[in-house]
Symmetry: C2
Subunit: 323 residues, 2 copies
Amino acid sequence: MTDLATAVIAGDRPALARAITLVESTHDADRDLALALIQRLMPASGGALRVGVSGAPGSGKSTMIEALGVALVDAGRRVGVLTIDPTSARSGGSVLGDKTRMEELSRRDDAYIRPSPSGRTLGGVARRTREAMLVVEAWGADVVLIETVGVGQSEIAVAGMVDQFLLLISPGGGDELQGIKRGVMELADVIVVNKHDGELHAAAEQSRAEYAAAAHLMRPRHEGLSTPVLLASALKRIGLNEVWDAIEGRHGFLAADGRLARLRSAQASDWLWSEVREGLLAEVEADPKASAIAKLREAHVADGTAFPPRVAREIVEAFLDRK
Amino acid sequence: MTDLATAVIAGDRPALARAITLVESTHDADRDLALALIQRLMPASGGALRVGVSGAPGSGKSTMIEALGVALVDAGRRVGVLTIDPTSARSGGSVLGDKTRMEELSRRDDAYIRPSPSGRTLGGVARRTREAMLVVEAWGADVVLIETVGVGQSEIAVAGMVDQFLLLISPGGGDELQGIKRGVMELADVIVVNKHDGELHAAAEQSRAEYAAAAHLMRPRHEGLSTPVLLASALKRIGLNEVWDAIEGRHGFLAADGRLARLRSAQASDWLWSEVREGLLAEVEADPKASAIAKLREAHVADGTAFPPRVAREIVEAFLDRK
C-alpha cells in the first residue's frame, strides 16, 4: 500500500486506476487495504475545488462536464470526473458509455474520468465515490466534477461531499417534464439553463427568468450570496466562462471568510458519525438475536400496532445482551 | 399504566394531561413507564388526520391554527394542537404564551392544546411530540395540528410524522424577509398565502401568483396531485373552508389509493431504525473506550487529516470489544 500511495501522489495514472479499483472493491479483504491506502493519501487530498453537477435526464450534464473539463485542462488544471449512479450495476454498459460520451476529454492526460462504481445501495455507491474523490485529489486533481444521475437521494449525497453544487436545467418543454426533483433546487449554488442555442434560444431565456424568480423566493444556500441563474450552451461552448467564474468566485469568497473550511469540517464530521451508525447497524443486522426480533416486529411497526421506540429498545437490548 | 391508558382511551382530559406529562419526562424511570403506556395506547392511535403547519415567524401560524381548530370543533371534530420548538427550554414563558395566543380554542372541551416539550436536542423534542400525538389520538382526537416554530430542521421532523404539510406564507414585504428556509417549500402539500385582508390584500394575491409559479417548477409532493396555492385570512376567518377542503380532499384521495397507508408505514419504519441508530449511538457515547477514541480523533477528521471511515471503524471496534 505504501508503494501504491507513493505512486498515486507522484501522479502516476495506472497507479491511480489501481487505487480506485481497490477502493471500489466489495471484498472484505480489499476493504482493509483500501482503508489503509486512503489513510496514507489523506495528507495529499483535499486540494481540489469539488463541484457536484446535477440535472434531469436530457439536461446535458455529460456535454456540460466535458465542455468544462476540456476548458479547464486547456487552462492548465488537472480534472477528475466521477459519477454517482446507483443503478449502474444494472446498466452494464456504463464503462463504454462514459468514454464515448466524453471522448475529447478522455484523451487528455490531465483529465481522469471514472464511471460510477456499481453497488447495491446508494449509501455504498456514494461512499465509494467519495473515497475515489480523495484518491483523485491525492493524484493531483485540482478540480473534481461529480455527476449525479438523479436517482432518488443521490443529489443530497453529492451535496454532502462537494463545495459547490451546479444544477443544470433544460429549457421548459411542458412543465411536467421539467419537474425538478424535490429538494434539488435549493441545494444549488449555481443554476445554469442549458441549450441557449438554436431553436431553444428563446425558451432558455424564458426558463432563466422563471428560475431566477423562484430562486429569489428561497433562502440561498449561503447567507448573503444569492444564487446566480445563468444561460449557457454546453454543445456550442457558449457561456462556460461565466459559469466557471461564478463557481470559482463563490468558492473563493467562501474560502476567504472561513465558511468553506466550516462546510468541509461539518461534511467530514457527518461522514464519520454516519459511518459509525451504519457500522453499528450492520453489526445489529448480523446479530442473530437482534435481527430475529427485527423481522418479527417490523410488520407490526409498519401497520401501526407496535410502538417503534419500544421495538427499537428490544432490538438494541438483544444486540447488547450478546456481550 | 393500565388504568391511565384506559382513562385516556375513555376520553378523560386530566388523564390525557398526565399521560403527556409522563411522555415528556426526561427521567429514565419515567421513560420505561411511558413506553409501556404508549404501547397500550397504540391500538387506539392512528385515527387522526395529521397536519403539520409551518411558516416563517409572523406568517400567522397560531392565528391560523386557532381559526381552523375552532371551525373544526364547531363542526363536531375533536382537535389536538401540538408544537415543536427546540428553543422552548430557553423561552420559559411558552406555556402561558400558548394559552393566551389561542384563548378561544383553549376554552373548547373538544380541543386539547399542548405547548412544546422542552428539550436539549431537536431529535428529543420531535420524538416526544410524536409520542404526544399518539396519546392525543388515543384520547379521541380525529385531527391533530402540529405547529413548527421553524428552527433548523424542525420542518423536516414534522413532515416525517404527519399526513399533510401546510405551509403558511406572509405576503411579500422585501424578498429577503420572505426567504423560505431551504427545503421547506417542496415539503408542502398545501401552500396558503395568509393576510388576504386589509392593506395586504393585493400583495397577497401577487404572492399567491409567484408561489403558484414556483410550485409549478417543482415535482409535487405526490405524483399526480399538484400543490394548491390558496389565499386566506386567518384573522378575518376568510378562505378557511377552501384550505381545509384542500387538505381533507388530498387526504381522502391518498387514503383511497393506498398511498397514505404506505406513507405512514414508511414513517413508522424510518422511526424504528432511527431510534435503533440513536440508541446504539447513545451506547457508544456512554462507552469509555469508544468515546475516548472519538474525542481524540474528531479534530483530525474535521481538519481533513484523518479518514472518517477508518476512524469510524476504530470507534465501532472499541465499542464491540467490551463484550
